[in-house]
Amino acid sequence: MEQHSHITLPKGSIEKTTTTLNIGPTHPATHGVFQNIMEVDGERVVSTEQTVGYIHRAFEKLAERRPLYQITPITDRLNYCSSPINNMGWHITCERFLKIDLPKRVDYLRVIIMELSRISDHLICNSIVGVDTGAYTGFLYVMQYRELIYEIYEEVCGSRLTTNIGRIGGFERNFTNTAFTKLEKFLNEYPGVLREFEKLFTRNRIFMERTQGTGGISAARAMNYGFTGPNLRAAGVDYDVRVQQPYSSYQDFDFKVPVGTTGDNYDRFLVRNAEMWESISIIKQAYQKIQEFKGADAEIYHADVPEYYLPKKEDVYTKMEALIWHFKIIMGEIDLPKGQIYSAVEGGNGELGFYLISDGGRTPFRLHFRRPCFIYYQAFEELIKGGMLSDAVVTLSSLNLIAGELDA
């Protein structure tokens, strides 16, 4: 313990000195690899310094030597709780840049996958807030359904966490019947589980007292700090990329954008829960629309873009054209047009943007990821200053910080 001259102690300080406390880089309360060096006066947080970068993997540099399709697996590893949104966000950026139009069915299939991963992202975040406030049960209830969501991914793309799902122009294969059966199972069972989950938390006295009034932020400050996604909406700003700059035919769906008022941990929790209900409704609408496609239309799962979409393997063995495209795509021998684009999607925790600059080469000249976590984590000190240390832990998990996205 020592007195720091730059720190003003709060009134009523008993010990008249602060203690430096290290939380992280690995600590059960951080749910990821990042460090907080906190000055605490007793149990009150006086100041904190967030340190990030422990799992920095130089994605932006790596992307400068990869053809577009090889960048998709990199995006998996940003927010790994909702990899498919990152993958789709990247595909959509490429498609906008290359001016590729997608068939409606592909858009709707993508919407299903993106909303499933939004649910899996939010349910993890909300149930972890529960765990950190001492209620473990809800976490176990919803976890079964994350497993079911992962099984759906597995049916579609073959993997679960780092999905690499879809290709530029569509999906690598059509959804199987099993995928749809599992989706139906999810749509039938999950609402009940989510209701049960809400029953455990939303009006739970202990939970409310732990989360209400902690980690709050005003709408103006949140905007100044670059908040997006559920965290900004909890502060009362109804900004949602899906509504403001629709992509993947989101304009065809009917859904609400839930907002909070105080931007505290409780509002963030409620906004995420409400968004899960909206996502369920979007998935139902999308599934309905998909069932309306008949005949050949019901088999479409990619656009016709031979320059970027790998041909079928049997065609590669038998047709010259397909063989050439296959070779050119795999060897990354396709020159990109010149230009630049900024394209964003609504990720699990905010506006996930891709800023792509091409100088006409085969790989991006520069690719920058706008990672929502990285930007709003700056506000952490302001959110927790003067509060209790145990509330800081809840705030940390309710911000939904994902180390992969922080560090890129």
């Binding site: 970068g53 100044n224 700090y225 670059g226 630049q340 684009i341 900024y342 800023y355 520069r366």
Partner: protein
Amino acid sequence: MALTNTYIQEKLVEKFNDQVFHFSTDSGILSFESAAENNLKVLQFLYEEPSLGFTFLTDLCGVNYPDHQGAELVVVYHLHNFIENIRIRFSIAVPVAKPDVFTATKLFESANWMERETYDFFGVNFIGHPNLKRILNVDEMDYFPLRKEFPLEDQTRIDKDDEMFGRG
């Protein structure tokens, strides 16, 4: 009144005359440049002028163009007006020998870490930044890795002998 790219351009030219230049529209977003020393004036005007209202800093990042003599490092700002739902892109260029740029942290708290990141990877010196130090890389690093002078390892090199990584 719907805010349009033409109106924004007119407003900017009216205020800054030839201090803002290279207007273009790339995939719907109005892009323009200004001299590096004017960056704060332009950002503040975009923020405070009631009919523009670009109060949200979406993104700030660096780009390195080694061939642009005297303007090797570029800082790109993406701004957003939530009410009119319109984005713009604003960039400034500085020489790599003297990469001094005024910090935008007084206007946007969110610029703090994004500027640190830009410093970390490109070595842009943000004047007036409250805490300009490396953020993702180790503090001991003595170069700026996203500059083009640092190529990625050549995948075809054969002088390395490490069986574990398939080069045995």
